[in-house]
């Protein structure tokens, strides 16, 4: 695991600079490069949608800023929350008169900073609603679901919120349907190798040659259990079982499925995982409305994958199917 870097401390600003140079008609910034907004922000008459979090997860977070999804994103250092100040910059810039929804993962630092930002936005008369993403079933049992962390399931939240905001939804309507989407979303992941934070320069943990870490998040923090590596079918069946134990999906219902690569795992392997998940769902008479297989939320060069199941009703299906166009996510 080696990196193409200049100075480790320049990693995030240089990455951002590259992004702005590569996507000049999609991405812009407010005050400083760490507060990323759509070039057409604020979109007047539309609820503004903001996210934020540490770097190292591309396409999460800022890769989903664009038409049909988010309006802005506060960008932190690798695996680190951005500051309340940055979030406030984003909030002010993207407010198109209908208020702003914060949609982000349930991590201590992010929550505290977004809360501070919301308090400050309130002083400036910008109404803010917060929707926390807590989709990772491995991070806490069902009776402590509020402690769960947010992982790749947030992409579905961004998509649904974006479509609802585009459709003219009010602040509460957008926040409510996003909460409904998240209530229907569960994820679980497994890691096969660690990742390296550029400033730290060495892996945060080690995994033996034949080992995997079950339930690992997207920050290199340890998972819930370390076990001998299993086959693709075993691993994916296990993730699916854990998710369906937590999210009730009945025969005849339909879902969206996401197989997310954590970084180093090739797309070929993700499709091998998808194959097994699809078959198990078909056996249960659950139909797949859309399959998303690829890298949607990564941990830099970590090897591994996660599964997300998003249960759909008619309203959510329509919002999921709406077009979107961001630097990392285009749906027609």
């Amino acid at each position: 695991m080696k990196k193409l870097l200049n100075k480790p401390e320049d990693f995030v600003p240089e990455m951002l600079e590259g992004l702005f140079l590569a996507h000049p008609d999609q991405l812009s910034y407010e005050e400083e490069i760490y507060s990323v907004v759509r070039t057409d922000a604020p979109v007047q008459g539309k609820v503004g949608l903001a996210t934020g979090g540490g770097s190292g997860h591309l396409p999460v977070f800022l890769g989903y800023v664009g038409k049909g999804m988010l309006d802005g994103c506060a960008v932190g250092d690798v695996f680190n929350s951005p500051s309340a100040d940055q979030m406030l910059n984003v909030t002010k810039r993207i407010n198109g008169g209908k208020g702003v929804v914060y949609i982000y993962g349930n991590y201590g630092g992010d929550v505290m900073n977004f809360d501070m930002s919301a308090e400050m936005a309130d002083l400036e008369d910008i109404p803010v609603r917060t929707v926390l993403v807590k989709d990772d079933v491995a991070s806490a049992p069902a009776d402590e679901a509020d402690r769960r962390r947010g992982v790749v399931g947030m992409v579905f939240a961004f998509k649904i919120a974006g479509a609802k905001a585009d459709a003219g939804g009010s602040l509460d309507e957008v926040a409510d349907v996003t909460e409904k989407a998240l209530a229907n979303t569960r994820s679980m992941g497994v890691a096969l190798s660690p990742c390296i934070v550029p400033r730290v320069g060495k892996p945060g943990f080690t995994l033996g040659d034949g080992e995997m870490e079950i339930g690992m998040g997207i920050h290199g923090e340890p998972g819930i259990k370390r076990e001998p590596l299993q086959t693709a079918d075993e691993v994916s069946t296990r993730m699916l079982t854990a998710i369906l134990d937590d999210l009730n999906v009945a025969a005849g219902e339909r879902v969206a499925v996401m197989i997310n690569g954590l970084g180093a795992t090739p797309p070929e392997e993700l499709y091998v995982l998808y194959r097994n998940v699809h078959k198990h769902l078909a056996d249960k008479d659950i139909s797949v409305h859309r399959a998303y297989v690829g890298e949607y939320a990564t941990s830099m060069e970590m090897a591994g994958a996660s599964l997300t199941i998003f249960k759909l009703d008619d309203e959510l299906t329509e919002l999921l199917d709406a077009p979107a166009h961001t630097p990392f996510f285009t749906q027609v």
Binding site: G76, D77, V78, F79, N80, S81, P82, S83, A84, D85, Q86, Y107, G108, G109, M112, N113, D115, M116, D136, A138, S139, A140, R147, R149, V197, R199, V200, G204, F205, G215, G217, H219, G220, E221, P222, G223, I224
Partner: protein
Amino acid sequence: MAITAQDIQDAMKRVAAGFRTNGDYLTELDQAVGDGDLGITTSKIADALDSYADQTAGDDLGKYLAAGGMAVNKVASSTMGTLLASGLMSAGKVVRGKEVLEPSDLATMLQAAFEGLQARGKASLGDKTILDAMHPSVEAISQAVQTTETLATAGQKLVDAAKAGRDAVTPLRNRVGRASWVGERTEGSVDPGCEAWVIIASSLADIG
């Protein structure tokens, strides 16, 4: 024995130095139960404190401290950075308007800082967070200041109680924050935030 702006600035620099010396150890602790960034966070806090301590304090030490909190959050916005920023802001608020401080102010400020951290992070004692090292240590200094011990003795108590608080929760499981997801495997690991407070207490204890 009045405490001046210079004393406050010296204390900031000592905390910065303490963070620098112990950054790698904090990273190691955080790698075991979290995401391994705590050393980076404390080194950013150290930079912020160092350069903030070089700025003129003005005649309101409370305002100076609170603005220092905002400066810390701007550069170090992870959990620890944000918590310590909230602590500094709260500590500043209770001495708003003062140009010099009394030893008893120190206890009041530390108490306020503790409350600020608690309000921002919403953790409870026993959740195995920085609060568990901070709480006994703040209690100890409040008592010490009431019994008019020397600042040196009070400082020693601050540190001893911090260490005892840290050690008392080491066998427990982390209940909030990133480490809580690691579950039972956190039992027996020193909480990185507790250790950070021990470093802060030890650095502050040099005062006087």
